[in-house]
């Protein structure tokens, strides 16, 4: 299972909420170590699909495996091998950075030596040793997001799911955040990221563009731009979104 093995396999994923079809027959694979972008406007069904892959929600139908585990029957096994960072910032603001790390390390049953190693790593990465004893709530949003990302990787998961990780921060902080993503990817971690920032799409190895619950396109950013004769991912997206509107109208 090295190199370009498939870590996520999705065939005909359908998720319905009543009559509303949030995910309409999605089919795609994600390879080990790649940065896989999941793009789409708000409400296109990105988060729904991601929640299914993380074992937070059950699909209506389809064959889905994550790290070789089946999402219907082995969702708890999936949870041991993935990291997740949600849209909502979700560390405990009333605890210090070290306390948050210790908590998540405990949940993933990390031995003490490994936890201390991770703490040291984080201290180096953030260039601020004193940060460990600061309350998370007192940190700026950009820092919190970097922290949440580091903690999502505390148990060395094979895949990390990032749901709009850079929402609400300035472009410089976003760039710094993407540096962390590249680092993780270089270490062999598969990154599955949803976003609606089209410039971020260009940082991904491959992107999927979702419109109204369906996958409209799936390829490398360069290939997509060429196919649609566009100069940026933003133009690719606009072309696809307009086409979808016409089809509906």
């Amino acid at each position: 299972m090295m190199g370009n093995g498939k870590v996520i396999e999705v065939k005909n994923l359908v998720k319905k909420f009543g009559n509303f079809v949030a995910n309409d027959h999605l089919t795609f694979d994600v390879h080990r170590g790649e940065i896989f972008g999941f793009l789409g406007a708000n409400g296109a069904g990105k988060t729904t699909a991601m929640r299914i892959l993380c074992g937070l929600s059950k699909p209506t139908s389809g064959e889905i495996t994550v790290n070789g585990f089946d999402v219907y029957r082995q969702s708890e096994a999936i949870k041991r091998t993935i990291g997740y960072m949600s849209q909502k910032f979700s560390l405990y603001e009333d605890m210090t950075v070290a306390e948050n790390m210790r908590f998540y390390a405990g949940i993933y049953k990390l031995p003490r030596s490994k936890r201390l190693k991770k703490e040291a790593e984080l201290r180096d990465k953030l260039h601020m040793p004193e940060i460990m004893n600061k309350l998370v709530g007192s940190l700026p949003l950009g820092w919190k997001q970097k922290l949440a990302f580091s903690i999502a990787l505390i148990h060395d998961p094979g895949i990390v799911f990032l749901d709009e990780p850079t929402g609400g921060v300035d472009p410089i902080t976003r760039r710094q955040f993407w540096k962390l993503i590249y680092e993780a990817s270089a270490n062999g971690i598969t990154v599955f990221v949803t976003t609606h920032y089209m410039d971020e799409a260009e940082y991904c190895d491959r992107v999927t563009i979702m419109v109204d619950g369906r996958i409209e396109a799936l390829d490398t950013p360069a290939q997509l731009m060429q196919t649609y004769g566009a100069s940026s991912m933003n133009d690719v997206f606009l072309t696809l979104a307009r086409k979808a509107k016409k089809a509906v109208g």
Binding site: R51, C54, G55, L56, S57, K58, S75, E76, K79, R80, I82, Y84, S86, K88, F89, S90, L91, Y92, E93, D94, M95, E99, R102, F103, Y104, A105, G106, I107, Y108, K109, F161
Partner: protein
């Protein structure tokens, strides 16, 4: 185990870092014991009496004096006019009209019996009933005085009468505080347990960390146990703390064994905490927990027998109370503290609370979902 301990440590860190939480843990028992116990006073004192004396005889004056001499009554005025007295009653200036008709003494002497009228302000029915009881006693006493005077014998040797000596076991002096304080302790422990546990889980839902926990391999029972234990400890601490306050403030007797009391409380709290957890699975915000919890707790408490014994409630209420956990703790705490009951005396209550705890726990674990 490592997972469980990690969650437990996190909960304790968060609870003790929250200054408001500490205030709740310390202040709620103090305030409840110091204020509520006194406020829930059911003794009736200082009943204002207005006398309508149309007889103006020695007998009527002596009767009025008996009322003013009683610790329960205060003579606020004398008038000859019924209307005036009624106006006082209406204005809340008087609670009781003692109306002595003209010719009272004459009738008493000539015919050996006479009647008078008592009119109570019964806005507060039970207070009126209690003061009527006191008034009856004053009149009985007065009556006995007349009989002994006319028969010229000692008062306590009324001829042929039965002399009753009443003793109030388990609360000799009928100190209402000894009756109320244990009840208030039950309320204290129930509120602390139910609300704090319910609010805590929903708080995680609100700030979005629940979802983060749900993508981890935490097992449901680990999470729930680690979430409930801190509040279980806090509620038991508050019971001890409240008991200590009651002991010093109103010399609350502790006849029975504290081991019995705390063992029962520990069992009782499992059900209460799980009920709080169950509420939190229905609620999305802390406000919702408060509203639902308040509704349930009000019914539990008012029906639980803190003021009125369950035995005096209507049949349907008694049937509902079979399912009211508060009701059982109310019985146990009074039995153990005032009567000195042991484990053998509270077996039915223990059985109920064990069943209630298991059911509540099962429901809340089933209802708590890691998957949306």
């Amino acid at each position: 185990m490592q997972v469980f301990l990690s969650i437990l440590r996190k909960e304790f860190i968060q609870i003790f870092r929250d200054k408001r939480m500490l205030a709740i843990i310390i202040l709620v028992p103090v305030v409840q014991m110091m204020v509520l116990v006194y406020a829930a006073n059911m003794e009736v004192k200082n009943v204002d009496v207005v006398v309508v004396d149309n007889d103006l005889s020695q007998s009527s004056r002596s009767l009025a004096n008996r009322f003013s001499g009683s610790p329960f009554f205060t003579l606020t005025g004398t008038t000859f006019n019924e209307k005036e007295a009624e106006a006082l009653l209406k204005d809340d200036a008087a609670d009781l009209i003692l109306s002595i008709p003209a010719g009272f003494e004459e009738k008493l002497i000539r015919e050996g019996n006479a009647s008078l009228q008592l009119i109570f302000n019964a806005i507060n029915g039970s207070a009126a009933e209690i003061s009527a009881g006191y008034a009856q006693n004053v009149l009985l006493d007065y009556n006995a005085g007349i009989i002994s005077e006319t028969l010229a014998i000692e008062r306590n040797e009324s001829p042929g009468g039965i002399n009753t000596v009443v003793r109030y076991w388990y609360n000799e002096l009928l100190d209402y505080k000894h009756f109320m304080a244990p009840g208030i302790l039950v309320i204290l422990v129930t509120i602390i347990g139910m609300f704090l546990s319910g609010m805590n889980l929903v708080k995680e839902k609100e700030i979005g960390t629940t979802e983060q926990l749900n993508v981890t391999p935490i097992r449901k029972h680990q999470l729930i146990a680690a979430k409930l234990i801190p509040f279980w400890v806090i509620a038991l601490f508050d019971l001890a703390f409240g008991l200590l306050i009651a002991k010093f403030l109103f010399k609350l007797p502790i006849e029975g064994s504290l081991l019995v009391l705390f063992t029962y409380a520990a069992i009782y709290l499992v059900g209460v905490l799980a009920a709080g957890l169950l509420i939190s699975t229905f609620a999305e915000t802390q406000q919702q927990v408060l509203f639902i919890g308040y509704f349930i707790i009000m019914i539990f408490i008012l029906m639980g027998g803190i003021f009125t014994p369950v035995e005096s409630m209507p049949r349907w209420a008694q049937i509902i109370d079979i399912f009211n956990p508060v009701c059982y703790f109310m019985q146990v705490i009074r039995m153990v503290l005032l009567k000195g009951s042991g484990f053998g005396d509270i077996i039915p209550q223990i059985i109920f609370s064990v069943i209630f705890g298991i059911l509540m726990m099962a429901f809340s674990i089933l209802k708590y979902r890691k998957r949306a």
